[in-house]
Each structure stands twice: as structure tokens, then as C-alpha cells.
């Protein structure tokens, strides 16, 4: 049963074993595991269910309906860095590119083993979870026939340069390569959680309250005992209230931006640590201009990646963006912009992502919403700068006639490999780059020592039994790879543990 604001006329009360905040990668996985074990589960999701007839109409309706703050959410620091997150049933799994990476061993070591958390997230349990998730979400590498020319060019460039790379594994079924992953896949081929784990949970009796914001976790005798929420309309206007009594626990899975804010609003957890240690994978894109058509809107949205430099904190991947999203990277205005938009079918777009060392923070500014501070360090910007030069070289190797690096102080249009030398001289000031932050981690980090984090190795907030946080906000560090699969795997392991401890 899904209940939304327009179906509710008065305050709602419900009771369950576990109430789960968030229906994305972590929350939906928890609901799927716990309902299978026979628990009564309520899911609370701030966004609406996705109507694919709306998202099929394009970026504008998708972003205004299903992306948090109509895509205006951003980190502020030395520069302004947009952060896109889903705000809908399915969370960011509905609007991401469906990339699924099993946690590489070096990332597992850095993120969990090094912090003494290998017993909290045992590698063998994680592997078992990955295997189940891969089967249930149809995770498979992009097929040749839907690769698209944007990705084909990167594969060819990587092959010529002898760089390790691969077709990207994604959660999809019979993808037709329409290039619309970011539009919540209007053809329903992407296996976002609203296509599988949410319906599976509902079939086993879970209730989903959508368009309902989780306001506050409540406690009784120091133990989490429920959740207060408020139904919201499409403009955030408040409606009736929701009260859920949770007999066994409250599971927070609202993302690395919103889980810490829920704890802050509830005044729970180590106040020095909640919201601290926010990490991300900042990145940018290189645009290449080719004589032959590329049609970046066709084929898998993200089809190929070069992971050759992953241990140097850099990953290159293709991204087929719609012109309204990529157009801001075209360094023109007026008539020149219109001409370059008309040529948009001839551009390739390749992203550079950095496993950044920078840390920021997350908090709340009352009526002004979320406060995210984050500034990539010069060493992080240096990685991105190097990545831009590399992608430029790769693009020229497969016939680009020009590349547009998008760095202030560097020529806007570079027409030869020699011209790329200018990138070496570019400033390391993040304000010179068009950065976007994806893949968010850390602001309720897990720690063995309660002074060093927010959540213990049993996924419960230190000192607050019954309050669990299971999304990427508990990861002590970023991963260096796309995190959806790891988030689901960790949520699976955490939920199985909760079920076992509850005797099922």
C-alpha cells in the first residue's frame, strides 16, 4: 500500500516492527530483507512515486518533480558545487545511471578494514549480499548493441592507449539504450528500487508513506521508539502529520545529506560528529567535438569506463547528457551558443571523477533548508585537472577536432593535442572548474569508539539503542567507485543482522 498526501485528510497513526526512512538504495534494501524475514515494516519517503509519463517528457519535469530542490541543492565552500539527489520513491536509484560496482578490495580495506569495521561489515557476508542483489536487480554489463557512439569512442581511445576499462555493469533489464537513465528511465528498464525492492516489500505487507517528510525520531527511556513526520504537497506546504510507533527499531536511510539532518533535528547522536566528515567524489566533464555524429543522447547513459587510474584517485567514464544539462558546459552565449547547440549531436562527453581527500559538513539552516559546506583540496583539483588533460588526449586520439575543457583561464576551445599543455598551467582553485559532487559519504560515520563517530559497528547510533543508520553516511571514507551496489550490500548485511538479533 502506498499512501500519498492527496489521499490523506487527517493525521495518520501506524505501528510496525521497523520504520525505515528513505526508499532509495539503502532503505528499500532494508525493507526487502526485513519483510522477507517476516517483520512488519513501514517506509517513509519524502518524495512522490515516479510517474513515468511525467519523466518521459524530459529533464524539466523530471527535475522539478523528482530531484531534490529542483536540482538547486549545492555545496557551498570556496565554490558552488551542485549535488543532485533523487527525491522520489526509489530515491537516487530512480535518477542515477544504474552503475553497480562490487566494492573493490582496496576500497573495502580503506573504508572498513582500516577502521576496524571488518566485523561490522564482513567481506563474506557482503559478497553473499552482492550475489543476491546482482541476481535480483539483473546487474549486467552494457551490451554492445546499446553502447552508443559516445561510449564506443572512449572504449576505442582506451584500447589505443592501452588503458584498463570495461563496459559498465548496471541494474537494468532489456535496456534499449534510450539514454534516459537520468529521467527515471521512462521505459522502466532500469531496475531502480521502485521497480523491485519496494514492490516486493509492499507485497509482503509493508506500507509506504510517500510525500511525507521524516521530521523527528522519538525516544522513550533512551531507546528509539518511533518517528514523527509531515505530509507535504508539491510545493512543500505542510499537511497532516504522521506518527509511526516502531516496536523494534527506527532505520535511517535518507542519504548522506538528509540522514545527519534527521539526527540533528532529533537531537540524537554525538553532536560533534553528526554532520561532520562529509565526503564526495567531485567531478567534471570534458566535451569533445567530432566531425561525425556522436548523438550523445543515444545508447546507455553511461556505457564505458576507464578505471586504469582508480588507485590514483581518478576514474573516467562516459556520460550521455541531454543538451539542457550539458549545454551549460558550452563556453558560449547568444548566436554562438545556438550554433553550438545545433551541433550538439557531434559532441562526446566524458566525466572525470575524483576520490577526493576533502571533508565538508552537513547541517540545517531552518527555513532556508540544507547547509552543505565542501571545498575540494588543491590535491583533489590536481587529480581532476590531470583527468581533464587525459580525456582531452584520449578524445584527440579518436578524431576529435576540438575539446572544451571548461577551465577558467585555459582556452575555451583547444584544437590540437599540443594545446592541452595549457591545462597543466591551470589554477588549482576549484572556482575555475565546473564541478559537480556525486556519491556522498560519511556525515554519520561508523566508529568503534563512540567519540570518533556517530554509529557503532552494530549500525546503532552510539547511546541510542533501536536507532539504526545504514546508508552511505556511515561509511568512514569515500570509495573511489560508484557506491550504489556497496550501499545496497551494506544495508543488506545490516538488515540481516537486525533480523537475526530479533530472533528471525
Amino acid at each position: 500500500m502506498i499512501v500519498t498526501r492527496d489521499q490523506v485528510q487527517a493525521d495518520v497513526r501506524d505501528g510496525c516492527d521497523f520504520v525505515v526512512v528513505g526508499s532509495g538504495a539503502a532503505g528499500a534494501t532494508a525493507a526487502r530483507v526485513l519483510t522477507e524475514r517476516g517483520f512488519d515494516v513501514v517506509i517513509v519517503e519524502e518524495g512522490p512515486p515516479v510517474d513515468r509519463t511525467v519523466s518521459a517528457k524530459g529533464v524539466f519535469p523530471t527535475f522539478t518533480h523528482y530531484v531534490r530542490d529542483a536540482a538547486s541543492q549545492a555545496a557551498l565552500g570556496r565554490s558552488f558545487i551542485p549535488i543532485l539527489q533523487g527525491r522520489c520513491v526509489g530515491g537516487s536509484t530512480a535518477i542515477n545511471s544504474a552503475i553497480c560496482w562490487r566494492t573493490p578490495e582496496d576500497a573495502y580495506d580503506r573504508c572498513f578494514r582500516k577502521h576496524g569495521l571488518d566485523k561490522a561489515v564482513p567481506i563474506d557476508a557482503l559478497d553473499r549480499a552482492f550475489a543476491r542483489i546482482e541476481e535480483e536487480l539483473h546487474i549486467t554489463e552494457v551490451r554492445e548493441e546499446i553502447l552508443g557512439r559516445n561510449s564506443w569512442l572512449m572504449r576505442e581511445a582506451g584500447r589505443l592507449a592501452g588503458l584498463e576499462g570495461r563496459m559498465i555493469p548496471r541494474n537494468e533489464k532489456d535496456c534499449e539504450g534510450s539514454g534516459n537513465c537520468l529521467l527515471a528511465c521512462p521505459t522502466n528498464r532500469k531496475q531502480s528500487t521502485d521497480q523491485n525492492y519496494i514492490p516486493m516489500s509492499l507485497a509482503k505487507g509493508a506500507r509506504l508513506y510517500a510525500t511525507c517528510r521524516a521530521d523527528r525520531v522519538t525516544t522513550r527511556g533512551g531507546r528509539a521508539d518511533g518517528l514523527d513526520g509531515t505530509f507535504l504537497d508539491g510545493y512543500g506546504r505542510k499537511g497532516p502529520r504522521l506518527r509511526v510507533e516502531a516496536r523494534r527499531g527506527v532505520i535511517v536511510a535518507g542519504s548522506a545529506i538528509h540522514s545527519p539532518q534527521l539526527l540533528q533535528r532529533s537531537r540524537l547522536g554525538n553532536r560533534r560528529q553528526v554532520g561532520a566528515h562529509f565526503q564526495a567524489h567531485p567531478g567534471t566533464a570534458m566535451v569533445g567535438v567530432f566531425d561525425d555524429p556522436v548523438r550523445p543522447w543515444s545508447g546507455a547513459t553511461q556505457g564505458y569506463e576507464i578505471d586504469h587510474y582508480r588507485k590514483e584517485r581518478m576514474k573516467l567514464e562516459t556520460i550521455g547528457l541531454q543538451p539542457e544539462l550539458a549545454g551549460v558546459r558550452l563556453p558560449y552565449v547568444g548566436a554562438e551558443l545556438m550554433r553550438s547547440l545545433a551541433d550538439f549531436g557531434h559532441v562526446a562527453i566524458w566525466a572525470v571523477l575524483c576520490r577526493a581527500n576533502a571533508e565538508g559538513s552537513v547541517g540545517h539552516l531552518g527555513p532556508f533548508g540544507t547547509r552543505i559546506t565542501y571545498t575540494p583540496l588543491p590535491e583533489d583539483v590536481a587529480v581532476i585537472r590531470r583527468g581533464l588533460k587525459l580525456t582531452g588526449e584520449l578524445m584527440f586520439s579518436v578524431g576529435a577536432k576540438a575539446v572544451l575543457p571548461g577551465i577558467f583561464g585555459v582556452p575555451a576551445r583547444i584544437t590540437s593535442p599540443d594545446g592541452l599543455k595549457a591545462i597543466d598551467e591551470a589554477t588549482l582553485d576549484p572556482r575555475a572548474y565546473h564541478l559537480i559532487a556525486t556519491h556522498l559519504f560519511g556525515p554519520t560515520r561508523m566508529s568503534v569508539d563512540p567519540r570518533g563517530g556517530v554509529v557503532g559497528p552494530d549500525f546503532q547510533v552510539h547511546g541510542v539503542p533501536g536507532l539504526y543508520v545504514i546508508d552511505s553516511s556511515v561509511f568512514p571514507t569515500n570509495l573511489g567507485v560508484n557506491p550504489q551496489h556497496t550501499i545496497m550490500g551494506v544495508a543488506w548485511v545490516a538488515s540481516e543482522r537486525m533480523a537475526t538479533e530479533a530472533g528471525r
Binding site: 510517474d51 509519463t53 511525467v54 517528457k57 524530459g58 529533464v59 524539466f60 519535469p61 527535475f63 522539478t64 518533480h65 530542490d69 529542483a70 538547486s72 541543492q73 565554490s79 558552488f80 508539491g234 510545493y235 512543500g236 506546504r237 555524429p293 548523438r295 543522447w297 541531454q322 543538451p323 539542457e324 544539462l325 549545454g327 551549460v328 563556453p331 552565449v333 547568444g334 548566436a335 551558443l337 545556438m338 550554433r339 547547440l341 545545433a342 551541433d343 550538439f344 549531436g345 557531434h346 539552516l365 527555513p367 532556508f368 533548508g369 577558467f408 572556482r431 565546473h434
Partner: protein, 136 residues
């Protein structure tokens, strides 16, 4: 399904005129035969209001300020004692270009914000997407 009428945010009449002038300078009609319509033929301002209505207060006000700021820039960027709307089409485009290439970060960022909003609104019109796809 379009969003219902904006509940909380309506631009004032001068703001609507300012925004329209910026959009028309940024995405002029007839600049390339492959994209036969420009901002003039698309309900850009209506879409801007929808977008701002779906945004949190600080973001909506930030975007409004960007349009106000652009109106006031010509004396500083061009040495012209006029508002943006008071300039010729060629000079309006020049203001936007200087803004996009300015060493002042806040001007570049304001221009990026305006460009993002403009492109989202422009390509929300099905005619523009169809024209783009026909062009290759």
C-alpha cells in the same frame, strides 16, 4: 502533467521583462537554421516561475537576484549608462559574454545559473528537442 500554478512564487512584472530580455539575448531566434525557434518563441518565463516554485527559498531568491544583477551590470561591464534591457541586442549579448568570461567568480557563476535555467526551459519545449535531433 505540468506542475499546477505556482503557489508561492510569482515574478513581478519588471522581473518577468528582465528575465525575458536575458533569455532572448542568450538564446536568440534565427541564429541557426537548424534550431529555428529561440527563447522568444518559448514560454521561458512561465517555466522559470515553475522551476523557482519547486526550489527552496534561498535558491529561488538566488536566481531572482542573478536576473536583477544582470540588469544593473552594463555600466560596470560595458561603460554604458543603461540597464540590460536598454541595450541593443548586440550589446546585450556582449554583456552576457563578458559576464561568462569575467574574472569575478560570482559573475561567472550567476551566468552559469542563468544558462542552466534557460536551457532547461528552452529544451522543455518539444519543438526544440525535435529540431536538435533532426540536425544530425
Amino acid at each position: 502533467m505540468p506542475l499546477p500554478s505556482p503557489a508561492g512564487l510569482k515574478l513581478t512584472a519588471p522581473e518577468r521583462r528582465w528575465a525575458q530580455a536575458v533569455f532572448e539575448a542568450l538564446l536568440p531566434s534565427g541564429a541557426d537554421p537548424r534550431l529555428p525557434i529561440g527563447a522568444r518563441e518559448v514560454d521561458m518565463v512561465g517555466r522559470l516561475e515553475l522551476l523557482l516554485s519547486a526550489s527552496p527559498l534561498h535558491a529561488a531568491w538566488g536566481a531572482r537576484m542573478a536576473f536583477v544583477m544582470l540588469q544593473a551590470l552594463p555600466p560596470f561591464l560595458m561603460g554604458e549608462m543603461a540597464t540590460f534591457r536598454g541595450l541593443t541586442a548586440r550589446l546585450r549579448e556582449e554583456v552576457l559574454r563578458r559576464c561568462a568570461e569575467s574574472p569575478v567568480y560570482i559573475l561567472r557563476e550567476a551566468m552559469a545559473l542563468v544558462k542552466t535555467v534557460a536551457l532547461m526551459a528552452y529544451f522543455d519545449d518539444p519543438r526544440t528537442v525535435q529540431a536538435l535531433r533532426r540536425s544530425v
